[in-house]
Each structure stands twice: as C-alpha cells, then as structure tokens.
C-alpha cells in the first residue's frame, strides 16, 4: 500500500504563499504575520491529516461486467464502502490500476456516509483480447482544502478475460448460415431430425434429450444427438496457422468469435476446432463463454491443420477468410 501526498497546483501556490509569509514574518519580525503563517501552515497540516482520515477504512471492490469484448466499451462497476463508524468520507476518487498505472477513467464519490456503501462505474475499452490484469486501486482525495492530493494504492489483482472483438461478418457468410429456428421448432429444437447417436450430457442440454436406459446402463448421463435437417449443430473450424500475419490473424479470430456468437444467437449448438484443441458443440451462455475464452487465448500454432470429426459448418482460415458449408446466393 503506497501513500503519496503531492501538492495540487493550488497547493503549490498556497505553499509558496505560506513560505513567503513565514519568511516575511521571520525577516521583518511582524508578529501577526506569524499568526497568519501559523494558520496557513496549520491548514496544510490539517489537509494532510484529514485527507489521510478520509481515505482510511475504505473498502473498494470491482463489479466486472459479464462479458468484455476487445474494442467494445464496457462498464466496470466500482463499489466503495466506508467502514468508519462515525466519519463520512468526502470527495474520493477511485482509479483502477493496470500494471501499477491508473486507467484513464476515474470514479468519483462526493460523499460516502459512515458505514455506507455506494456504487458507480466507469466506461472503458480494451483493445486486445486475452487476459487483462487489473492490479489494484488508487484512492485519492484532495479533501478538505484541495491543497494536497493524498493517494493510496491498494493491491487487488483481478484478471478479466477479454473476448475477441466481434468483427462484422460479410453478408455472404451470414446468408450461408442456418436460419434461426421457427417458433414452433423452438419448443423442441434438439429432438427433431434423425437420431445420430448419443453423447455425454453437458450443462445447458435439454434434460428431455437424456437417453435414460443407456445412461443407467453406463452409469453416466447421455443425451441423444439428432441429425437436424437444417443443421442445428455446427462446428467452426479455425485454422490458427502461424503463417498468417498478426493483423490478419486477429481479424480471423474476431470473425471466428463473431461466427460463434451469431450461430448461438440462431439457436445452434456450436463447437470449435482449432490446432491444439476442440470444443464439442453445445448450447447455452456458459458454452458460448467457453468458446469465446478459447478464442481469447488462441495463438498461432505450428503443426497439422485442424480436422473436424464432422463436416464443419464454417471454416475460418488464419488470414480471416470464412467459408461456410452451404453458401447461398444473395
């Protein structure tokens, strides 16, 4: 926990004026200047002490947003609690720290009564996908006189997984994707079409699809997989070939992420195959989170191109080119 107490711009002027009055008092021996000097010096001292008091016994925490995409503004909630018994805290600034440096946005709390908690948020944009580390907070106050800005840094490391930016998909690609289910089908989307086999139950699966007899026999939950006429399940094959340039690779990742989101929005169970890993198709917000997390950390990898067990619904090359399985004319 680091503490600093630098004078503000006004504080520097005030400090200079104080020194000047003190020098005049000492030099000219004007006693009432000593009184004025004493008052000014005491104000500086009181500023230092009271600002320390204002920052004491404050607890700050973050309320992160559920999803953060690179390049898209998000709101980070900041909660500040005054754990002092009697004294309120005035004029508190809270800044998030990234690698020890404050983020460009500050949160301001005008008055935080004793024993109370307040929340606010700041808007911010992160340019890069991946793990984003917030290292702590910087609390600052210039209260009560604005002559000195006391700051206190609190270590509170937090990691945010920043999903890839959602690149706009070309219209041809969007047209080649399966349409969203009709309302009638929406009631039982996973029980249409020809039975393709059984697979392990995953969170988010419809319990009605559980094959109870086989599950009882094997001692694990298994659900039916259907071969949907409209392709209600699809795998995206993303070739994270290191041959591509960095910018093109990022575009490819963003398009793969956009495909994941779009297919999930259309009600499909989405899977992802990359060099070095595969996520089987599934549905639900948690599954979409797994896909995006994989894409948040995906890096170019040497080796053989990825292969899907089934025909992928879309294939994204490392240079950002997207091929869909059933392209349709405009």
């Amino acid at each position: 926990m680091r503490r600093r107490l630098p004078p503000t711009r006004e504080g520097w002027w005030f400090l200079l004026a104080t020194l000047f009055v003190g020098a005049v008092a000492l030099d000219a021996g004007i006693n009432l200047f000593f009184l004025t000097f004493g008052t000014m010096a005491s104000l500086l001292l009181a500023n230092g002490l009271l600002s320390a008091l204002g920052l004491s016994r404050l607890r700050v925490r973050r309320i992160p947003p559920p999803v953060v995409h690179a390049g898209t503004p998000y709101l980070m909630g900041i909660s500040l609690e005054n754990r002092k018994r009697r004294l309120p805290s005035f004029s508190i600034e809270v800044e998030d720290l990234v690698e020890g440096r404050p983020i460009d946005k500050r949160c301001y709390f005008l008055k935080l009564p004793a024993g109370r908690q307040q929340e606010t948020s700041y808007r911010h944009t992160i340019s890069r996908r991946g793990r984003h580390r917030l290292t702590g907070f910087r609390l600052a106050t210039k209260f009560p006189f604005g002559l000195m800005a006391r700051t206190r840094e609190i270590a509170d490391p937090t990691e945010i997984v920043v999903y890839p930016a959602l690149a706009a998909l070309p219209p041809a690609v969007l047209r080649g994707l399966p349409s969203p289910p009709s309302p009638a089908r929406d009631k039982a989307p996973s029980r249409q079409g020809e039975l393709a086999g059984l697979r392990a139950f995953r969170p988010g699966d419809d319990p009605r699809g559980i094959h109870w007899r086989t599950s009882a026999r094997r001692g694990m939950l298994l659900v039916r997989e259907h071969e949907d006429d409209e392709g209600r399940e699809g795998t995206i094959l993303f070739d994270n070939d290191p041959a591509a340039g960095a910018a093109a690779f990022e575009l490819a990742v963003s398009r793969a992420a956009a495909l994941c989101v779009e297919l999930a929005r259309r009600g499909m169970a989405v899977g992802l195959v990359t060099r070095g890993g595969e996520i089987p198709p599934s549905t639900g917000a948690a599954h979409l989170g797994r896909l995006l997390t994989r894409l948040a950390f995906v890096a170019p990898e040497p080796g053989a191109p990825p292969r899907a067990r089934r025909r992928p619904i879309a294939r994204v090359s490392a240079d950002g080119h997207v091929d869909v399985a059933h392209p349709r004319a405009a």
Partner: protein, 757 residues
Amino acid sequence: MRFQAAHKLVTYLLVLSALAGLGTTHALAPASAIAFLAVTGLSFWADGPRWTAALDRAAGAARVATGALLVAIVWRISRRMPEADLTAAFDLVLALLGYKLLYRRNHRDYAHIYALSFLLVVVASTITATFLFVAAFAVYVVLATWALILFHLRREMEENYLVRHSAQAPSQKVGIGRILGSRRVVGRAFFAATFAVAAAVFVGALGVFAFVPRLGAGFVLGARAQTSVIGLADEVALGRYGTAGSGRETVVLRATLPRLAALPDDAARRDAAERLYFRGAVYDAYQGGRWLRSRRPELRTVLEESNGRAFIRELGERGALDPLAGTDRQEIEAVGIPTTVLFAADRPVAIELPSRRLGAAGTVGVVPRWSGEAALRIGGDGQNGFGDGFVTLANAHYIAYSDIGDPQRVPAPPRDGLRAAEPRSVHASYSLDPRARLDDLALPDGLTGMRELAVRLGSGRDAAGKIAAVVDWLRAGHAYTTRPPARPPGVDPVDDFLFSQPVGHCEFFASAAVLLLRAAGVPARYVTGFRGGDWNPIGGYVAVRGARAHAWAEAFVDGSGWTRVDATPPADAAAAPGRLAETSDALDFFWSRWIVGYDLGRQRDLAHHAWRELGHFGPSTPTGQFLVVLTAAGLLVALGLGLRRAGRRRVRDVPIVASGGLGPPAAPRADGAIDRLYRRTLGRLERLGLPRRPNETPHEYAARLRVGGTFGADDAFDRLTGRYAAARFGGQEPPDEAVAALGRSVQELLAQRPSAG
C-alpha cells in the same frame, strides 16, 4: 441546509469577518465601508435567475464603472506617493471584492473572493493595534476553514466527473444545479466537525506563533518602519501642535514598573502613577516660535554598551561604578506612538532591548541622539547613529532604567514645579561641558523684555532659587488653557505669552521657563513627553493616554545635574478611566505584549518561567520521577507505534507478482513514445481550449472533436488515439519510427488549428 446556500452564507460571513478585521485598523474609511456593505447586501439577495440575468445584461456597464473606480483610486494613491495611502489601497481591494461578489457565478469567482478577503486580513494584521483584531481573525479562520472545504467540494462538483453511466449510451455529466441544491451534502454534523478542524487550525496557528523563534528583523526586507508623529518630531512649532498621537484618549504608552506594583494598594499606585513623567524628545535651540535641535557634537548623547544594555550619559557626566543601583526597571510598550526617541520615566540611565540581549539576529539597536535622548534604529550599533535617517518602530518594546525616586514621597503636581533632585547614585559627578553650557544658554536676538524680566527674577539667587522664582512668577500671572488665543503675526509667541496674552498650554509655559532661565544664566532645555498615567489594576501597569502629552523644562543645577522644571499650573485632573475602559485597555495590553510585541525576549522569559516551574518537580521529587517515567513511556510508545507502522508499510509494499497463465503481453512503458506523444498532444489541445473532459475515454474525446468539426475522420489525431489505446490497453506498443511519423502528422494538424474550434 442546501449546499449552495451554505456555501454562499459562509462566503459572505467570511468577507464580513475580513471587513471587521480591517475595521480594527482605523484605516478603513467609513464611507467605503458603508458602500461596500451596500454592495454586499445587494449581491447577497440579488442572485436569483432574474437578478442574475439583469446583472449580466449590465455587466458591461458594471465593468466600466468598476474600472473607472479603480483608475480613480489608483490616481489617488499615486498622488500620495511615496507615502503609502492605505485607505485608498483598501478601497481598491474592496471595489474589486464588491465586483466579484456581484458577479460570482462559479468556483473561480469564489476563489477570487477568498484571495481578496485574505489580502485584506493580511494587510490588516500588519497595521492593527487592538486585540479586537484577534477576535475577527479567529472568526475568519473558522469561516475560512468552512469556506475552503465547501469551495473545494463545489469545485469538484463543477469540474470533475459526477457522471451517470449507462451501458447503452455515452456517459452523461450530472447537472450541477441538482447537486448544489442537495440538502444531503452538508448538515449540522458537517459544520460541527469542520468547526473542530477550524479550532485545531487556530490552535496550531497559536502554537506556531508561540514557538517559532523570533530570529531577526531586516535580513532582506528591512524592519517595519513608519513615519514620525506630530509633536514628537524633530521640530516643535509653538501653538501648532498640542498633542501627540492620533487621539487624546488613545493609550500611547504602557509601562510596567515593579516598584509601583509593590505599593500596598491601588489608591497608592494610582497616586504614584499620576506623579510620573515620561521623558521623550529634548530641544535645545529656539528660533521664532520653534524649538529645534542644534545637533552640535557637544550635545551628543554618550552611549556605552555593557551586558546588552546601553548606558546613557551626557558629555561631562561620569558614570558610577554601579550605574543601575537605585534605579527602577520599567518595561515599556510604545503602542500608540511610533517612537523615534525612547520614552522612559524621568531621565533613563540605561536602555535594554530584550531580543538583542540574546544576541539574536535582530538588527534594531539603541543609538544616541542629543541631550540625553536615545532612539531605536535599524542596524543601530550605538556608534553610527548620526544623521536624520531614523526610522520609527511602532509597538516598540524595551526596558528602561531610571531613578524615579520614592513614588510615595515625590510630591504630586502642581507642587512639583521644581523637582529638587538630590545627586543621584547613577552618576558619580555632575558637570556640564563648557560648550554644551553655551548651547543651553543660547537665546535668540531681541526678546528684550524677557531678558529684563529674567534678570529681575534671578537677581541675588542661586540656580535653584532662580528656578523657583521663574516657576512662581509664571504660575502667578499666567493661566493654563488647551485653547490658546491666536498670536499676532510677527510677534514672538513666547514674548506674547509672557507680556500680552498670558494664557497658553504647557508648550508656552515650558518655553517661557526655558528662555527665562537661560536669560537668568541657568542652562535649560525644552523637553516633551507625558505627565502622569492611569494605573490599570487589571493589567498591573501604567497606561499613558495621548491627552497626557506634556512639555516641561530641564535646568542644569551644579551639583544636582539636570533637573526637571515644570512651570505649567495644574489643569483639571483627567477623568479616571472606567472599569470597562480599563478592561478593554488591559486586553489591548495583553494583545500588545503577548501578540504584537511577542519577541525573542518574551519567548526566552516564557521558557525561563516554564523551566523554573518545572524545577519544582525536580528528578529527586516523586512528581518529578513520575514525569520522567511518563515522558519515557510516551517516547517508547511513540517509537513502537512508528516502528510498527513502518513494518506494516514494508509488508504491504511487496509488489504484486503476476499469476500464471497466458497473461497479457508486456504493458506499455509508462514513458513509452506513444504515451508521451499522446499526453503532449493533450496538453497542446488543452492550451488551444479543447481539453479532454474527465469523463471521456480517449475514443470518446476523439469522437467529440470529430463531431465538433475540429478534426476530420481518420486524421492524425484519430490515428494517434487508436495507437495510444492499442498500446495503453492492448499492449501493442508501436515502433518508435511510427510514433515519430505520427508525431509529425499531429504537429502539422495542430499547426493548422491555432485556436479552439
């Protein structure tokens, strides 16, 4: 209470307390004060929307009027130059303050108001002479504390980022009016707590005041100087000046005499105080109704420094082995008269400056003048006191040693026309230098009638007899009045007083006595000072008011030396001050002694006293042992707390180690090229009047400038913003060459926009 109302009220009270402080100086013109109060009242009530709009419409006229007023005041000040016209200077500040009060719109206007009010208080503190100032000052400190806190909060509200965020739309600043009208920001508890803060600040100020050593005077700026005062100047014109100081009832001098304080009761002390004479300026040359100093070398006072004291004698006098034996110590505060000459009871034998006694850096010293006078001078070293370049020090504090005799046995005026002083122990022998004798016998040409009268009065008498005869003759045929008649032009005023219009005040009696004595062959000189004083039982000192200003003669009697001759008949006794006046003066005395006159000597005395008091609790006594143990325990606890705090800080200062995982790429260097370029550009844009708002992200800021037409889409600033954000929050630090190229583009872009768009 609504925040805005609280802030406004506190600000106005602060201004009024500054005005009250200024009012204690007597330098504030009543008309200015009334005009300022009227403007203040108008500005207080007239700040509704309608009034504000009306005032804004009249802003041009108000500026012109204020400007004209300021020009007039500056012209008034310049006319009085080089003399400082403080009244006009105060008018100037009040005019500015009034304008600011009328046109206070945001926190900057409030800051100006505070600065101007502080200026008033600071200047007032240098010239005030009454304890009432400290009351105004204490109120000012409390109000200033409140005002500064409220000002700070208001500024934070107005300038900072009270922002309402929404996930769908850009952040919106919350309207300032809503917060200023809030009743939840400040309340009773707030004012109570901040009052405690203000009290602590005031106590801190007193602590600094009490304990910062008074190291010196005049290292750089010189000591405070004032011009001399009428009646005590280098020249006395008879009938023109009758009083000293600015007011007859104003206390001009206070003297603490332990010998008086030792008398059995207040009645005796009052009686003794009435008999005192405080001697000041001495004049030896008379020319056509004026008393002057001839400044002849033989009349030069002789000063001898010893043990921090300046011993005073005149040419021909020889000091005793123990010059202070039989003398009375007087601690004198010259509060109402800037003293050129040091005043003391009777003829002072020695003068001592308390701070100088310690060998401090104070450069004020005692210097010799003429005819037994001594004076204060900046840089005075006792030897270099020639010339007229004396400065006068208001609120001078010094110690004098004189022989005032037995205060209970000295006959009171009017019978004290002649103080037949017995040879004093302070001088081993009394003789007058022959050249000085000639100077003190000099008479102007003419005045034949007076010469004949003097010969007649002195015929067949020795010096003492001649003195008695002159005093008796003057008192027998002349009347005392404070309103002497106009003397006919071309006639010597003393001659007119002696033979034509035998009424006058002390100056005429003293002048006539000096001239008659000289004509009768007795060396004599003219002395001004104060006769008598009021014993203040509350403060334990003698207060001398302006109305006590007096003139008398000194005559040289062989064997006795210089002897006081007061030929003025008794006037009606001055009314004794009432209890209220005594209390008020005692407070002023306290103020003068412990606030205005608090110097190194007083600090030393206080420390001495405290040490002596502590001496009662020596380490051998149980109380002393308890105090030693208590102090040691306190020090140990403080040390332990300090170490614990330092240790805790060290533990907390351990840097955060990044956890495993993929982690972000290296963070941009804090002083990276793109970071520096972006911040430099922000600074330039701010100077162009396009600052980035606290609630804006870099992209929002760029978008605002783009929408506002300041910059075009995808121009250099837009690219810079993108690069900066990518580096700052994406870890993509661009190569230095790219930053340099971008910097050139930004420079060209800004060069095309020299001012705010």
